[in-house]
């Protein structure tokens, strides 16, 4: 049983290290290199894209263990008394013992192009990139909320 426990602790430690390493990798996104793309040249023009990035991650794990089980009874008291006297760990008088553990994790990442940096023979300019889908969704939400407010106002007016 002690071998099983040692193996369990060893595996748990390696999993812990792996997850910590993964979290460290997550913070590599905080570097500007992750935001600005590689320059792409064509016909004397070079384009570098700039994007916005969100990354999040979380992990969790737990473990438990037991090395022996004594059924409640008269023997338990005797064992406790003995252990106090001898200051030694009581021997398992019952049955069953084991270790268990579990873990889980989750994460997300999202990116959106914000602008294109265009290098031309005439100079450098920053061209914004508009996310039409995102704006469309925001517009529909705003329209919906205005319609909802308007209908509530109309109802309140009728009650008068």
């Amino acid at each position: 049983m002690k071998d099983d426990a040692a193996l369990f602790i060893k595996e748990s430690t390696s999993n812990w290290k792996e997850s910590t390493g993964l979290i460290d990798k997550l913070f590599a996104v905080a570097k500007p290199g992750a935001i600005f793309g590689e320059p792409v040249s064509d016909n004397g023009h070079t384009v570098i894209t700039a994007s916005e990035v969100h990354v999040g991650m979380g992990v969790g794990y737990g473990s438990g263990g037991a090395e022996g089980f004594s059924p409640p009874g008269a023997e338990e008291k005797e064992v406790e008394e003995e252990s106090e006297e001898t200051e030694e760990k009581p021997a398992s008088t019952g049955y069953g013992s084991g270790y268990g553990g579990g873990g889980g994790g989750g994460g997300f990442s999202a990116g959106r192009p914000v602008a294109a940096i265009i290098i031309e023979p005439e100079g450098v300019r920053v061209e914004p990139i508009v996310d039409v889908t995102k704006l469309g969704l925001a517009f529909v939400t705003v329209l919906g909320s205005i319609f909802f407010m308007g209908s509530r106002m109309a109802k309140a007016g009728k009650r008068r």
């Binding site: 913070f27 935001i35 600005f36 570098i48 700039a50 914000v114 450098v124």
Partner: protein, 94 residues
């Protein structure tokens, strides 16, 4: 882990990229929150510093989508407040 270590909001300057005679240095704004079992990072571009023929110019990067989104939501909030004020006025009249 102290609060200063776990929450960071800073301007980060990247490695300069040279294309022909133009050198571009990117600047990004990073907000990162780290806790023992995870973290969250938001990184967005803010500007590029352009060095061309000995002249240095800082070109800001405006996130048009975000500006428009915030404007739309702000307008919606304004309408909501207006409706709330109007409905309170109606109740008082009663």
């Amino acid at each position: 882990m102290s609060l200063k270590d776990s929450v960071r909001y800073e301007l980060v300057t990247g490695e300069p990229t040279t294309v022909d005679d133009t050198t571009i240095t990117p600047e990004t704004r990073v907000l990162s929150v780290r806790w023992p079992n995870g973290g969250w990072v938001w990184n967005r571009p803010v500007a590029v510093v352009v060095e061309q023929e000995g002249q240095i110019e800082r070109l800001p990067i405006v996130d048009v989508t975000r500006v428009a989104q915030i404007s739309l939501y702000g307008f919606s909030l304004f309408i909501a407040l207006l409706t709330l004020i109007a409905s309170l006025g109606l109740r008082r009249k009663r």
